[in-house]
Amino acid sequence: MTIAVTAQLICFSILSLVIIIGALGVVLLESIVYSAFLLGGVFMSVAGLYLLLNASFVAAAQVLVYVGAVNVLIIFAIMLVNKKEDLKPIDNLKSRTIISTSICFTLLSLLIRVDLTKVWKLANPSSSIGEESTIRIGEHLFSDYLLPFEVASVLLLMAMIGAIVLARRDVMNKDISTGLPVDQELIEKSKEPLLTNKN
């Protein structure tokens, strides 16, 4: 066993442990802020796995997009909606939890069984392009994946406009429910919510 093999194994074990424990923390921790920061750790470890797979470009994209954009967006959303509230108890919560947990474990055992029993037709390691992968990704994006690449830009534009329209409070001149003109100032004022829970 050479030192490179040992280093790869150690890196893989540490990264996968961090991923799984961090993901468990994301879904199980009480505080949502801790979950958000653990989610950032999970994203970083996934980027580490990509580096282990010789994909430096995708690892950089993962760090930039997930840690730099998505995680920051999630933390901002938590900051905007983080209000202590007492959750109403649900009557059949216990049976729900049992059913969903058993479904998850069934799916997990099915997936692991498929992973372990299927014989994968592995490629010859000598045909690997290794560090050239960034060049190959660029070739793909501008030849056979050109249409999806261009459509992705339209999709991002649509998502940006949609997010602005959805998150802005006053995009219309008149309030739909009351018919009064809305003030277009930047500072949010407290307003009666449209659909408060009456029951």
Binding site: I32, L53, V58, A77, V81, K88, D115, Y145
Partner: protein, 106 residues
Amino acid sequence: MNVTSVPLQAFLIVSSVLFCIGIWGLLNSRNAVRVLMSIELMLNAVNINLMAFSSYIDNNLIQGQVFTIFVITVAAAEAAVGLAILLSLYRNRVTVDMESFNLLKW
């Protein structure tokens, strides 16, 4: 340099576990932000799968890496729109409890 010491199955098992944790969080969270985080976990599990297959089975053309780039793009768009929907919901309901979003429930 090529990864030969870590078997492909190890990557697949890690991604399976991550995907199932994501599904569990999606089904069991009461907080809407946590539901969005679980969706991101599931997308990451799928990305690990794509990357592992691209590196072990298709290591010359690496189409899996291109797919991962597109998945990351769509995930970013999804996160932006999802959080905007969440803010809009919070404005109208003053809660992020998933159980109170029942307007379409019969």
